[in-house]
Each structure stands twice: as structure tokens, then as C-alpha cells.
């Protein structure tokens, strides 16, 4: 028997083997209502079992199911990105920021001091965000409100500085010391918990002597009382930053603090980017890994960039296939990060350098992710369903809670 005949015989073999269901009477076939309900996942358990049992033996129904599968429309992302939907998760982010600002304003100073003496807090520590709308107070008022600063004796200050150095907060402690010695409130760097930033009194703290000092100081000091420096809006070298006026630096620092607050939320699965960014479809959002040194950010919703120096310098690691594809991310460790986005896009790095696309079974728009490690992550879809993986994305389980 020649090859051609063999092929034909085998085809006949399988066709016959799989076509026994052709004999099923058509009266039992699934109607359009049931087929559509199957496709939309609206059949009850027993209905589904019955329908599967029938389709397993019915060539017509199987062909109809196959035709249905072939006509699944490409997901249209536009409706899912309505302002209302984005507001649904931006609202808690904004609420969190307000709560942080309130905490910052109300919390007594003493609660800040122990943090200077203790080792850096856990990576889940919440960033301190001064309220940008707080009315400015004069330096003298600030000093009056915080006599404790003056009460710190030089010996204590030295001890404190030593402890801060031990805690890795050299730059922060030094600047704080300088400001206290100069009798001027630090509007941004060490804004007291219950004092308003003193905008008329410009921060007199001079920039670090060299760019590397600033680059080192900011991220190291971050776990103590300031959030990690978030990626600047444009690529800007540390040297350029040192050349800016203190006003500009203060403004930028405020921006970074606000961004970093967003980044913290991002890391814990609350989506990212401002409403305007998402509306504009440019979605640039930062992700900060625990420790504050390693950052990722996504620009144009597709270009994944990485920084290992707290956001001072950036390198492109991966470019996703489509613009606006990625919208949120989480980094449970400096080497592990998850990014999610439209049409079931899930990407993961487990070495901090290379990215892979994680298969996701649904073509839904994903709007946030929270991750515990490289194996465990939960993603939330625009339709509010959430899916959990415990095996690095190999399988996903829809969470019913």
C-alpha cells in the first residue's frame, strides 16, 4: 500500500472512530440558546454535563461548537477602559493617599523617631506622603510646633546620626542634622509629622557634593521615613538634578513622593497610572520592589524598563507586542515582578532581567495584580473577576470570594 493510500486509510479510520455520534438524532441537538449559554459560561453544572455528553457523540454539535470557537471576537478593549472603571480602583488609591497624608499630619513626632533608631522597616512599609495641599507654614512656626528638635542635644544628635548610619540612612540623617543646626525646617525631606511644610522658607540644605552621593542617599534613606524615589518623568541624570535650584528639587521631591505613594499601591495590586495617563493611553507607571533599590516602570504601556539604583538610571528590558498592553504590576522581590494588561496579558520575570509571557486562559482585560512570589499571584480583571495562580502562571483558578 502506498503512502497516499495509507494516509487515506488512517484518515478514514479516525473519521469513522470519531463520527459514531453522527447517528445521534438531531432532535437532541443543542440549540442556539444552549450553545450560546455554553460559550458564555451560563450553563448550570448539570446542563453543562448533559451538553458535553451530547456534544462528545454528536458531530453536528461538535462542529457548531468549533464554529463558535472560531468566531470568538477579538477582545475590544475600549469599553473596558471607561473612566468609571478606572475610577473604581483609583478611588481607593486616592483614599489611601489621603489617609497617609492624614496620618502624616496627625501622628505625633515621637512615632517617627523610633523609626530612625530601628532597622529599615519591612518592604511593605507604607510611604510617607506629605499632603501637597497643606498650607505652608513659616519656618519659625514649624520650629515652635516642634520644640523637640531643639531639645535634641548635640551628643544625642551624634548618637542618633550613628544609629541612622547603622540603619543605612546616612544622607537623611546628615541633612536632617544640617537643617536642625541651621534652624530651618526641612520642607520636604524631613517634614515633621504634624507640621506643615514651610514653603516660604526655602530648604537651605545644600545638595550633596556629588551626584553619586544623592543617588545613594535617596534610596538608602527611603525605608526610614521617605518613600523610594520614584522614576522621574523624564530621564534625568543625578548630576543635572544637583544643578537645580532647591525650589525645583523640592517640587520634584514632592512629585516623587506622590509618585512613590502610587508605586506602593501599585506593588500591592491596585493598578497604576493616573486617570489622565490611562485616558491618554500612555500609562507610564512605576513598580518598586521591596528594598526600594530595584524599580520597574512601563512606558507607553509596552516598554518595560528597570532601574537598580532606586530610579536614577533606567534600562529597557523588554517590549511587549502592543502599545497600551500593560497597565499594572507588582514586584514581590527585587528579582520577581509581574505585569498585567489588556486581553489577558501577563508577563513575569523571575531573575529581574528577562521577561516571559505567562499564558492566561481568558481574554479579559486585567487591571491589577498582587503577587507574593514567583509562584503565587492574583490578577483582577476589568469585569471584577479575580484569578489566582500558585504555580507561576501554569494554571489559574478563578477566585469566588
Amino acid at each position: 500500500m502506498g503512502k497516499r493510500e495509507q494516509d487515506t486509510s488512517m484518515e478514514q479510520l479516525l473519521r469513522e472512530a470519531l463520527a459514531a455520534r453522527d447517528r445521534t438524532p438531531q432532535s437532541e441537538c443543542l440549540d442556539a440558546d444552549v450553545l450560546a449559554a455554553w460559550a458564555d459560561g451560563a450553563l448550570s453544572g448539570s446542563e453543562r454535563s448533559f451538553a458535553e455528553a451530547h456534544a462528545a457523540r454528536c458531530a453536528r454539535c461538535q462542529a457548531m461548537l468549533a464554529a463558535m470557537a472560531r468566531t470568538v471576537p477579538a477582545p475590544v478593549a475600549t469599553p473596558a477602559w471607561s473612566i468609571r472603571k478606572w475610577m473604581s480602583f483609583l478611588t481607593p488609591v486616592a483614599a489611601g493617599a489621603v489617609a497617609l497624608a492624614l496620618w502624616f499630619l496627625v501622628e505625633p513626632r515621637s512615632s517617627l523617631e523610633p523609626s530612625l533608631q530601628s532597622p529599615p522597616p519591612s518592604p511593605t512599609a507604607v510611604a510617607v506622603v506629605p499632603s501637597p495641599t497643606t498650607p505652608p507654614a513659616s519656618a519659625n512656626e514649624a520650629e515652635k510646633q516642634h520644640p523637640a528638635r531643639d531639645e535634641v542635644k548635640p551628643e544625642e544628635r551624634k548618637q542618633e546620626r550613628g544609629r541612622a548610619k547603622d540603619a543605612g540612612a546616612v544622607g537623611f540623617a546628615d541633612r536632617r542634622d544640617q537643617a536642625a543646626a541651621g534652624g530651618v525646617a526641612e520642607a520636604v525631606q524631613v517634614a515633621p509629622p504634624n507640621a506643615a511644610p514651610a514653603s516660604p522658607a526655602k530648604p537651605v540644605q545644600s545638595p550633596p557634593a556629588d551626584a553619586s552621593a544623592l543617588a545613594k542617599a535617596q534610596p538608602v534613606a527611603e525605608p526610614v521615613s521617605t518613600p523610594p524615589a520614584s522614576p522621574p518623568p523624564t530621564r534625568q541624570s543625578a548630576a543635572n538634578r544637583t544643578a537645580q535650584s532647591p525650589d525645583q528639587q523640592a517640587t520634584q521631591q514632592m512629585d516623587r513622593l506622590r509618585d512613590a505613594a502610587g508605586a506602593r499601591q501599585e506593588s500591592f495590586g491596585r493598578g497604576g497610572g493616573s486617570a489622565q495617563q490611562f485616558r491618554a493611553g500612555i500609562a507610564m507607571f512605576p513598580i518598586v520592589a521591596p528594598g526600594g533599590r530595584v524599580h520597574w516602570r512601563v512606558t507607553s504601556g509596552r516598554v518595560i524598563e528597570n532601574s537598580i539604583d532606586g530610579g536614577a538610571t533606567w534600562a529597557t528590558q523588554y517590549t511587549a507586542p502592543e502599545n497600551g498592553m500593560l497597565v499594572a504590576g507588582a514586584a514581590p522581590s527585587p528579582t520577581v515582578a509581574w505585569l498585567v494588561g489588556r486581553s489577558g496579558a501577563v508577563f513575569q520575570t523571575t531573575d529581574g532581567r528577562t521577561w516571559r509571557r505567562v499564558p492566561f486562559p481568558h481574554s479579559v482585560d486585567l487591571i491589577s495584580v498582587s503577587a507574593a512570589d514567583a509562584q503565587t499571584a492574583t490578577v483582577v480583571a476589568a469585569d471584577k473577576r479575580s484569578f489566582l495562580t500558585n504555580d507561576g502562571g501554569t494554571t489559574w483558578i478563578e477566585r469566588k470570594d
Binding site: 500500500m1 494516509d7 440549540d31 450560546a36 461538535q62 462542529a63 470557537a69
Partner: protein, 298 residues
């Protein structure tokens, strides 16, 4: 004589559902909408529709807005039709193009469109296809299902008119005895064993096998149908292939008394050229299909 099940929807529930459906915007009366709800409940729940809580749960889960639109279109409301044409005709055409990229299914989509409008009259009344939409799925999915149904039926009808050529290529007729005198017999036996093995599969395994091998769906498409991840589909297909091969071997060994060499020759007869259906992998003798044909994996 059995009595017909009567669906009783409480006025509160009906008012709530009617409000949610926004049927009033299309000019659909509450009574007409209630009739549509009753048809839907009766079709799906049958006797279960007598349970008020179950009935309310079922009705609340319906695509009420789509059902209201379907009611309005079924009644021929112009405003509703305008909306339907604008929103759903592209769905029909996109689906038609997906089924037959050459445009052959467009004609089918148009005929569905005519059925939806209800050109056919019965007892003097226009019968719209919308009458059969019950709101369990979205209207767009239901339209795809209707189109898929028509498409498959047309293909099957055309096939019935084709000459049956398969009979001419049965293994025995196609075999050249000079190649291997045992081959026809081996092929027939493998064929029989294969039939038995597939017949013994669980429904879900059989459906998965059919979707992938017979309907040539991708792993992802098969997974969507069966609510499985494509990796699971791949794994389950591999398991099923292994089970089929084991069953074929068992049959040849136990029921035909074949030894290892004969069994190997039987498989050689069928798998040395996989052919268009890749029987080699089907019987688990070759590399996984995913590796050999990555383009079908996604």
C-alpha cells in the same frame, strides 16, 4: 393529560427586572417583557419555574437589556432595529468572515438577518427569530451561535450531495498486496481496536479529542470550549493518546493473540506516515504534537 407549567413572576420581581432591562426605552410593554421572561424560564427551568426563589434567581441572571432589545426588534420597533443594525450587524459579519474568510458566509449572515426580521409569516403573524432568544447569553453570543448553526447545517447539507468517496479508499481496497501481505489485516485490526478504544473514552475526553483532531481547533480554542487551560488540554490529550494506545495494544495482544513483533508491525502500518491527521501522535508513538506543530499550539 399533563397540565402545562405556569410561570408566575411576582409583580415586584417583574417591576424590578423591567426597570433593569430598560425595555420601556424601546417601547416594550411590561406584559410583552413578562411574556419573554416566562418563555425563557419555561424553556430552561420547566417544572423548576414553579419555585419562586429559583425562578427569581434565574430571571435575575438573564441578560435583561439584550432581552428587551430582542423583544423590541421582534416587535419591529424601528428605533430598536436601528440600534441593532448599528451594534450587531458588524458582529454577524465578523463572525461570518471568521467562519469563511473568503466571504462565503456573508450571504448566510444576511439570511440570518432576514430571519431575525421575520420575513416568514405564520398564521398571518410575522415570526422573528428573536423569539428564540431567551437572554441566557449575550445577544452577540447568541447571534454567533445561530450563525454557527446555519453554517454547519449548510456544510452538512452540501456534503450529503457529494459522492461518497471514502468507501473507495478503505484500507483493503487501497492496499497493494505486494508491499506487505499482512498490512490490510493489520490495518483493519488497528482500526477496530481504535474504534473500541475511542468508544470507551469518557465523554469529556472524547469531546476534547474530537475538538482537537476532528475539528482542528487549537489548544486554546479547545480549552475555551471546555473551560480548561490550554496546558491542561495538552496534558489531557497526551493522557488520552496514551490510554488509546494502551487499549489498542491490549486488544491486539489479548484478543488477537499478537506478540510484540506483530503489534509493532501493526503500528508501523499506520504510523510510518502520519498523514494529515497525525496518527503517529494520536497513538502516542511520536513526539508531542505541540512540539512538532507549534503553530497549532496557540
Amino acid at each position: 393529560m399533563p397540565t402545562a407549567t405556569v410561570v408566575r413572576i411576582s409583580s415586584e420581581v417583574l417591576a424590578r427586572l423591567y426597570g433593569q432591562s430598560e425595555a420601556a426605552a424601546w417601547g416594550v410593554s411590561e406584559a410583552a417583557f413578562a411574556a419573554a421572561l416566562e418563555r425563557s424560564a419555561l424553556k430552561t427551568l420547566a417544572e423548576g419555574a414553579k419555585d419562586p426563589r429559583r425562578l427569581e434567581r434565574f430571571l435575575s441572571a438573564l441578560h435583561l437589556k439584550d432581552l428587551a432589545l430582542a423583544c423590541a426588534c421582534g416587535e419591529g420597533t424601528e428605533l430598536a432595529w436601528d440600534h441593532f443594525i448599528r451594534e450587531y450587524r458588524p458582529v454577524l459579519y465578523r463572525s461570518a468572515d471568521a467562519l469563511a474568510p473568503g466571504g462565503a458566509a456573508r450571504e448566510l449572515a444576511d439570511s440570518v438577518y432576514a430571519e431575525l426580521y421575520g420575513l416568514e409569516k405564520r398564521d398571518g403573524e410575522r415570526r422573528s427569530l428573536f423569539r428564540y432568544y431567551h437572554g441566557r447569553s449575550s445577544l452577540a453570543t447568541w447571534l454567533r451561535a445561530v450563525l454557527a448553526q446555519r453554517h454547519v447545517d449548510r456544510i452538512r447539507a452540501e456534503r450529503r450531495l457529494d459522492p461518497i468517496e471514502e468507501e473507495a479508499s478503505l484500507p483493503a481496497a487501497a492496499t497493494n498486496p505486494e508491499d506487505d501481505p499482512d498490512r490490510p489485516r493489520f490495518l483493519a485490526l488497528v482500526r477496530l481496536a481504535l474504534l473500541r478504544a475511542i468508544a470507551g473514552l469518557a465523554d469529556r475526553d472524547r469531546l476534547r479529542l474530537g475538538c482537537y483532531y476532528r475539528q482542528s481547533l487549537t489548544l486554546a480554542e479547545t480549552g475555551r470550549l471546555l473551560n480548561e487551560h490550554e496546558a491542561t488540554v495538552s496534558r489531557q490529550l497526551a493522557r488520552t493518546r496514551k490510554a488509546i494506545r494502551a487499549e489498542v495494544e491490549r486488544y491486539l495482544r489479548k484478543e488477537q493473540g499478537f506478540g510484540d513483533e506483530q503489534i509493532a508491525r501493526c503500528f508501523e502500518c499506520t504510523i510510518d506516515d502520519p498523514g494529515p491527521l497525525d496518527l503517529e501522535e494520536m497513538l502516542g508513538s511520536g513526539p508531542p504534537r505541540k512540539d512538532s506543530e507549534p503553530e497549532r499550539s496557540l
